[in-house]
């Protein structure tokens, strides 16, 4: 699903350039459920943005689903984001003036799906995350956990192969966080590949593999049962 070789990311801010990723290699097979952990500023979000095709690496090769995407232009990347990737953010990122239904519908509009198909899919997805009766509610009328469930439904709208989540439980209480994790587990069981960033060791434990990033490189990659293989920097 994902293959990265020697990924570097440089941010040129003013006179000093920050090297957020320093030659990172990563491989993710289809159907994996992986968490990324690491100290603040280690480059987790930077990596996630590149994997999610929101940003491009300064150097290195990146294959996504068999395609080399590191050289793609803006519209090609938009296409990949639309069709192959579903994002879940820490702060939900729902459109405030749109209802739950309309938020979930949005990626399908960008994909050009017909009205009938959109209606069917949106209804099914919102029901699946337990919000079948809240479809016409706006984000302000929903709790944090509910907003995140709308965001997950939205991430699934175009049936992507890969779900990316940057601290999806970061803004939720432990109970809602556990619920969200439950949904992710279900998704994984039905065959979706999931990559998520987390600060919470308990959340990381529930994934099947944990990658530790430090200073822009992967320092360890552990299986969920604790027996890790250490891939040195």
């Amino acid at each position: 699903m994902i293959k990265m070789n020697g990924i570097r990311k440089l941010y040129a801010t003013g006179k000093v350039a920050v090297e957020a990723l320093k030659g990172l290699d990563l491989e993710l097979k289809g159907g994996e459920f992986v968490s990324i952990v690491g100290p603040s500023g280690s480059g987790k979000s930077t990596l996630m943005n590149i994997v999610g095709c929101l940003d491009t690496p300064s150097e290195g090769e990146f294959f996504l689903d068999g395609e080399r995407v590191d050289q793609f232009n803006g519209n090609q990347l938009a296409e990949v984001r639309n069709k192959k990737i579903g994002f879940v953010f820490q702060n939900f990122n729902l459109l405030p003036y749109a209802t739950a239904y309309e938020n979930v519908e949005l990626p399908m509009i960008f994909a050009g799906a017909p009205q009938k198909e959109r209606k069917e899919t949106v209804t099914r997805l919102l029901t699946r995350v337990g919000l079948g009766d809240r479809m016409d509610h706006k984000p302000t009328e929903l709790s944090g956990g509910e907003m995140q469930r709308v965001a997950i439904a939205r991430a699934l709208a175009n049936s992507p192969k890969l779900i990316l989540a940057d601290e999806p439980t970061g803004n939720l209480d432990s109970h809602s966080g556990a619920e969200i994790m439950g949904i992710f587990e279900e998704l994984w069981k039905s065959g979706t590949t999931i990559l998520m960033i987390t600060h919470d060791p308990n959340i990381a434990k529930r994934t099947k593999r944990t990658i530790m990033i430090k200073d822009g490189v992967i320092v360890t990659s552990l299986n969920g049962n604790g027996n890790g293989s250490s891939s040195h920097e």
Binding site: N49, G52, L54, D55, G74, N75, A78, E79, R81, N82, K83, F87, F89, N93, L94, L95, Y97, A98, E102, L106, P107, I109, F110, A111, G112, P114, Q115, R154, N158
Partner: protein, 413 residues
Amino acid sequence: MQLTSLKLYMKQFLHDLRAQKLRTFLTLVGLSWGTVTVICLLAFGYGLQNNQQEQMKGLGDNIVIMWASNTSKPYAGYPKGRWFGFVPDDIKMMRQNIPDLEAVSGEFQRGNITIRNGRKSKLIQISGVDPEFAPMRTIVPEDGGRFLNDIDVNDKRRVIFLGNDLRDEIFGEGIDPVGKAVLIDNVPYTVVGVMVKKKQDSSYSGRDKDKGFVPATTFQSTYGDRYLDNIVFRAKTLEIHKQAVDRTYETFAKRYKFDPTDREALSMWDTVEDNGFMVFFVAMRLFVGFVGFMTLMVGGIGLANIMYVVVEERTKEIGIKMALGAKKGFVLFGFIFETLILTTIGGGIGYGIAQLIISLAPMMNIKDYVGTPTLSLQDKLAVVAILGFIGFMASFFPARRAANMNPVQALKL
């Protein structure tokens, strides 16, 4: 898909409208005001020009009025300053020798002539002319009457054609005097027609509405004038107008033996040359259009400003949409769409107000001075084009800024 996107754009637009009530309102006011100004300036300018054109036709449509004068150059042994006069035979000569002419008429004039109908009498000016005089001077007979004709001229008939104001005074307003007799210096003449009211702002000897017209031949035998006061002529087309004028000089130079380059020997009032005046109107309209355009530009700058604010405020939203797969074109078009809607609304309101002003203008009794303000199709298209241009310019730059945003940066806000 297209329709769905439009719905989405519309939703965004309504959202912005609600979020930015005051700013949107002020922008609309600016755009409407600009549109009203442009349309009114153009419409009044056009009305004024039409009015002027009509007035000029009142004197004559592309005619030349010609007077005999003194020579200013010595020629063939004659000294300069020699005088000569036109005689009716000169008209025949012109018809024969200058094929470029469409119409030509001599004109005798005499003032202080008494016209009498029963008890009503008046001192007027009379012209003795040929039938071709009428079309040149845009003189049209009222229904039931006619202008002088060839038979009148050949038979030296005692017939008279009346100016409309003269008729009003001598016979009464709206009375049809055709067939009735009037006394001209105590000689009975039959009225053959009355002139339809026309606009005329320039003349060389009083307005046609106050005059009486009799056949040139009748005039000459009655009053014994030897010389015509002036000659009026018109070329067949505007293209050969200059040529006709030159031929006229040559012909008269030969006949009266003056230097053909002596332009002062014949003095001409060339109303075609006068049309250079129209250039002034075109220039005025361009200027007025430019002023209006600048007014609208100010509205446009307000519009661009509000769109920059909208982009600013919607950065996060743009980031979200981009993350979900919206392409640059979608973002770009969304903003252009919104701005064009605002422009359409502002322009529409302005158009409505301007139309109201234009339709009320004739009630103010200013028609004689400024004509009827009219919005020509050309001007309408110009206004639409200007509005479209401004709407597009005002939206394009903010929209491009939005579309070129880095999704990661946009999401961070």
